[in-house]
């Protein structure tokens, strides 16, 4: 294996699971998520020579992911589709499934900012760079996203007690 590919394996491949996790919630389609992450990684490999060693590889990869997703969305409008319902859930899994369902119902901008900042732990500044928007936009989207997430959770909670 060439040194460049070894470096790519070391810096980029460990983030594959996180990219796939976010891609699944962005696309709401497991197979499209896999395609999107594959495309992201190949784009990253192509541009790897331009990547500055010592900078944030994780943020760089997520930025590629977001751009690839936007490009894909432009080509074909994405039908908002929920991930397949998870039946026969254990009691502990029910709460997790509910919040995923509530998250999936959010608009893509709000969903993405929650995934980046809350789930993946990026700072608002990093998320702003990844999304190529002002930091104020990230913060307002985050606030609205939390608000809507709570609203989405309430009917689900009521349903659960029915």
């Amino acid at each position: 294996m060439r040194a460049e590919q070894q470096e790519f394996e070391r810096l980029a491949m460990p983030h594959l699971a996180a990219l796939l996790r976010v891609a699944r919630r962005m696309t709401l389609d497991p197979s499209r998520a896999e395609d999107l992450v594959q495309e992201t990684m190949l784009l990253a490999w192509r541009g790897f020579r331009g990547f500055k060693a010592g900078t944030n590889a994780r943020a760089w990869l997520f930025r590629i992911l977001v751009n690839a997703f936007r490009g894909e969305s432009r080509k074909a409008s994405i039908a908002a589709r929920y991930l397949p319902p998870e039946d026969r859930l254990l009691p502990g899994q029910q709460a997790a499934a509910e919040i995923r369902e509530a998250l999936d119902a959010l608009p893509i901008d709000q969903r993405t900012v929650l995934l980046l900042c809350v789930v993946e732990g990026f700072t608002s500044r990093e998320a702003a760079e990844i999304l190529d928007v002002p930091i104020g936009t990230v913060m307002s989207r985050l606030s609205r996203a939390r608000q809507e997430l709570r609203q989405n959770l309430r009917p689900l909670a009521k349903e659960a007690y029915r």
Binding site: R2, Q5, F8, M13, L16, A17, L19, L20, R21, R24, R25, P30, A33, E34, V37, Q38, M41, L42, W45, R46, L83, Q93, A95, A96, A97, E98, I99, R100, L103, L114, L115, V118, V119, R146, L149, R150
Partner: protein, 197 residues
């Protein structure tokens, strides 16, 4: 529910739905490999195209240099082909003194004949001939079973001083003669002779 509690619940919910990335990892590695092969293929193809262009350029240059010999030299080559290679019957002078005399009558110094004879090439015979409607003294020299034609006439301003030529032809002009050499190693013969003529 506070923001922190909501965030915690969201993290747990999303992290609980992890997908196995091994299939994507395999596809990415295969894609990288395919791209490397693809790029390598392009590099090989580009190198082949460059080599072909270079070879064509060299061939063309060689072709041009063959083509670039003056018409007078082409006429000399044809004459050499007819009279020396094919041996068409001609009347030749074989006596060196008679050849020198003939040369002098044509304005070619007899000393030039002697100089050519001192190069290691042996004077065999001589006669007058016409090349491009100009009279030349056609001398035949031999060395190592090869025969060479040397066409001489007084300086005519046809060529520059330096030895030029291509393939089996060489030509030059000095203050004493205009000379065209034809034969297997004519350029070497011409280089040696140019210093003496």
């Amino acid at each position: 529910m506070t923001d922190d509690e909501l965030d915690q619940r969201l993290r747990e919910g999303v992290l609980a739905d992890e997908a196995d990335p091994s299939r994507v990892a395999a596809a990415v590695r295969a894609g990288i490999q395919a791209r490397r092969v693809h790029v390598r293929g392009w590099v090989v193809a580009a190198a082949a195209i460059i080599a072909m262009i270079a070879a064509s350029a060299l061939s063309y240059r060689a072709f041009r240099s063959e083509q670039a010999i003056p018409p007078l030299c082409s006429a000399a080559v044809q004459d050499h082909q007819r009279e020396i290679i094919q041996g068409e019957p001609r009347e030749w002078l074989t006596d060196p003194a008679a050849i020198r005399s003939l040369a002098q009558k044509q304005g070619v110094p007899a000393s030039a004949i002697a100089a050519l004879g001192s190069t290691g090439y042996r004077l065999e015979r001589g006669r007058l001939c016409l090349l491009q409607k100009q009279i030349f003294l056609h001398l035949v020299f031999s060395k190592d079973a090869h025969e060479y034609s040397v066409y001489l006439r007084p300086p005519s301003g046809l060529f520059s001083g330096a030895v030029q030529g291509a393939g089996q032809t060489a030509y030059f002009e000095t203050a004493r003669v205009t000379a065209v050499f034809v034969g297997a190693d004519a350029q070497e013969f011409a280089r040696v002779s140019a210093k003496l003529l």
